[in-house]
């Protein structure tokens, strides 16, 4: 097979950070090439260099594509060559329709007047190709993330793509959606499209990849060939630089008395008043216990958590929350925090962080009382707190004065976690806490969860990754269509049991 793309000795620096340090990578024509590495290893940066997000001159090194040297000034340059990137954060306009999004900036038009017939028929063809059954006129915000991801790919296909780059395409997807997407990639490969995929889900990498390049601390560590067999352990070892025999830290928990008790919890949709989103949910969390909530996307897990956490979601909320046997008022976020409940949001960018501000700013934000007296901030104390969490959570950054927008996705997640740990909660609700996080960092987060449980706190963990729930939780509630439909103890939980509880309803 011929080499389609070669990047040689790419070095990219940001103020105070060398994100890439002479990284080289070669992608063969017609293959699926996976890039693995820890959070902040430089994967996204490398792809941004390739696609012209960082223009020529802002990095060192050389690239060739189809045998010719390339140097792009911006994304449209690289798109013209058939290199299309789908970023970690989706870039669709939610208020526009699928068709409008697909041809955004590339409209099917005659003398500036859009030809809707052609737009829609072309869209239908593309949607058929990616296996998405939605009318082209559907608004993007009306479909789930999984389908949005497919729209992104359809958009890429509309542009005559030779090299398709997917940066963590499945991070926000359910297993079956992920599987669909991966199969689509294999199909595209059969049609001759070369793909680069970045993913922290090594099972998926093994499923699709022909070649794996592992990056660590901005350097290429190894290039593995699927024909010689890919083992997850090997990839992990190259990623983290040591052997990792267990994916979950060991724990010996002894859940004690009931800490939190939610009973008869109901909530209705904020806009459609007739839709009941949470239906009579009741659950308990014991001291020193990790409780999981499983369910498919849209089953109401996030809505349940947010409606409990200061009624941040929904209306006409009813039900009772007891902490340590006493009813508590959770009608506003600050009351909920004060009562001892914290909620780590699922969407770190739009709900978790003030991106233009520093790590320090974000770390202390939910508990400014801890770093102030009489309403006056003690910045030194603040710095100390932020640095303590940076060390404890191993946040990769030159300093706590770095803006969070400059952090890699996984490290942003850790900052959000730091913010909530800093409120010293009794009950910590984690919503998809390991989304987009590398194996090593996952292990660290699991360790922190175990420590919290060992201190006698209660942890509620919402996750779409069933192995994670099974590996970490003492009990798992299964949620479906707004109701808690079952409960499994650690010993009896399995993926099949969880799925059958969902389906049986």
């Amino acid at each position: 097979m011929t080499t389609l793309l070669e990047m040689r000795e790419i070095t990219k620096e940001f103020p105070g950070v060398r994100a890439l340090d002479r990284v080289s990578i070669a992608v063969k024509q017609g293959e699926i090439h996976a890039i693995c590495g820890e959070n902040g290893a430089g994967k996204s940066t490398l792809m941004k260099v390739l696609s012209g997000v960082y223009p020529t001159g802002s990095y060192e090194g050389e690239m060739t594509f189809e045998g010719e040297p390339i140097a792009f000034r911006d994304i449209s340059d690289s798109e013209a060559r058939g290199i299309i990137i789908i970023h970690q954060e989706l870039a669709l306009v939610p208020q526009l329709s699928i068709a409008e999004n697909i041809f955004l900036g590339n409209e099917r038009a005659k003398r500036g007047v859009i030809d809707w017939r052609e737009t829609n028929t072309r869209t239908e063809e593309l949607l058929a190709k990616v296996g998405l059954k939605e009318p082209p006129t559907t608004k993007v915000d009306a479909i789930g993330v999984g389908k949005q991801q497919l729209v992104e790919i359809a958009k890429a296909l509309s542009k005559d793509v030779k090299l398709l780059i997917l940066d963590e395409p499945t991070a926000a997807l359910q297993e079956n959606d992920s599987r669909k997407l991966l199969d689509l990639m294999l199909e595209l490969k059969a049609q001759g499209v070369t793909c680069i995929i970045i993913s922290h889900k090594l099972g998926e990498v093994r499923y699709v990849a022909d070649t794996v390049t592992v990056i660590r601390d901005g350097m290429t560590v190894s290039t593995l060939d699927a024909s010689e067999g890919l083992s997850e352990d090997r990839i992990v070892r190259d990623m983290v630089g040591r052997d990792m025999t267990h994916r979950f830290p060991e724990h010996h928990r002894k859940p004690a008395e009931v800490l939190m008790e939610v009973s008869g919890w109901n909530a209705w949709h904020p806009q459609h008043a007739e839709r009941q989103v949470i239906k009579n949910a009741s659950f308990t969390v014991r001291r020193g216990e990790v409780v999981g909530i499983a369910g498919v996307m849209g089953s109401g897990r996030t809505e349940l958590a947010m409606s409990i956490f200061g009624q941040s979601y929904g209306r006409n909320i009813s039900g009772e929350v007891k902490l340590g046997g006493k009813p508590v008022d959770v009608s506003s976020v600050d009351k909920a925090i004060h009562a001892g409940i914290s909620y780590v949001t699922e969407d770190r960018k739009s709900l978790g962080l003030v991106l233009d501000e520093t790590i320090r700013f974000n770390t202390t934000l939910a508990h400014l009382e801890g770093v102030s007296s009489g309403g006056i901030l003690n910045r030194n104390e603040e710095t100390r707190v932020a640095e303590r969490y940076r060390d404890a959570l191993n946040i990769r950054t030159p300093s706590v004065f770095q803006k969070t927008i400059n952090l890699s996705g996984g490290n942003q997640q850790k900052v959000v976690l730091a913010k909530w740990l800093n409120t010293a909660p009794e009950v910590l609700i984690l919503d998809e806490p390991t989304r987009g996080i590398d194996v090593g960092a996952k292990y660290e987060i699991y360790t922190i969860i175990n420590e919290l449980a060992a201190e006698g706190k209660g942890v509620v963990m919402i996750s779409s990754e069933m192995p994670e729930l099974i590996g970490m939780c003492d009990r798992i509630y299964v949620m479906n269509e707004g109701a808690l439909v079952g409960e499994l103890a650690a010993g009896e939980a399995s993926q099949e049991k969880i799925m059958s509880l969902i389906v049986n309803e």
């Binding site: 105070g16 976020v333 909620y343 739009s350 003030v354 934000l365 309403g375 901030l377």
Partner: protein, 415 residues
Amino acid sequence: MALAQSDDIAEKQSDSGKSVREYLSSHLREYGLLFALIAIMVFFQVVTDGTLLRAVNITNLLLQNSYIIIMALGMLVVIVSGNIDLSVGSVMGFIGALAAVMMVHFDQPMYVTVVVCLITGALIGAAQGYWVAYWKIPSFIVTLAGMLVFRGLSLWLLEGQSVGPFPREFQVIANGFVPDIFPPVIGETIAGIFAERQVNTLALAAGILAAASLVWIGLRQRARNRAYGIVDEPRGFFIARNAIVAAAIIFITYKLSTFRGLPNVLITMGVLTVVYAFLTQNTTIGRRVYALGGNEKAAKLSGIKTERLTFLAFMNMGFLAAAAGLVFAARLNTATPKAGFALELDVIAAVFIGGASMSGGVGRIIGAVVGAFLMGVLNNGMSIMGIGIDYQQMIKGLVLLAAVVFDVYNKRKQG
């Protein structure tokens, strides 16, 4: 004025690669503003044959811009919170009219009038803030309505006439000077040394004290940064910047002292600036306003009462607009229906020139104050030169555009 003194060491990077260039590029905006102010002052000083920095003109400059600066403090908070207030010019005019009617037509004592006016201002701000905060009506629209309503109310209140003059004690708010508390001999001696006709010792002493405290605060911050291993401003920059700022303060107060001393409004302005700089940078409520403007949803989910903060930001703005209205009326010694017309634009421009961002979450008090001064010096210098109001407007517009373009360019370069 501790211009680039970023006591928030925010963008500073750690040990690696802390070259001067890097530091400069991440603080280009602050230095740029200071540099622009100096450049403009030098320019006008030269082309006006030294009129700009004459004692009487400096005094004038301060008096003329006091109400803009007072309102810029509140506007900065509003803009950082992610909103805007277009009504401040009208509110200012309305409060001036209210004061005039109370004192001139109804013979109310000055203190009663001042208190009533300030409370009214705060209530006006609260009324507008209520719609913005609790009904989520865009501030642009609410305050556009307010702008019309209060413009109309002033006309109605004044019945289309100018009302004045004010009692002497009220005029002093804007036109009075702080009397020298030091024995006259000291002033006379200094005057003798520098061959001036007179010197107000208090003004000079205050200037030296202010300059010294700024340097002291800067040094203390530096020492603390070092203790925390935070990379600080390169030494040369620190010294140069402090030297320039301290010299400027002493120079200006010296000039003032050879004229009539410290204007009362300078004290008001100075105190308010320090108070608001502290409030925004060093208190939890200030921090929360930045979070609100930076990401409202995240702020809300962090337990911040975002509605109440927005409400308070507008109420505060109303209060400061009222204070500015009193100063303005006292300065003109009459209330006219046109008072404050289009002034909101100058105030908003000052805040943006000072580096605030339209989308909220970014901006500093000190920047807004310097931005206001920059506009003030431009106005004043061009007037001395006899440049027509037509050109003045165009030039001011271009300066605003240049400042914002510079911001965006800077941000993109760091991107």
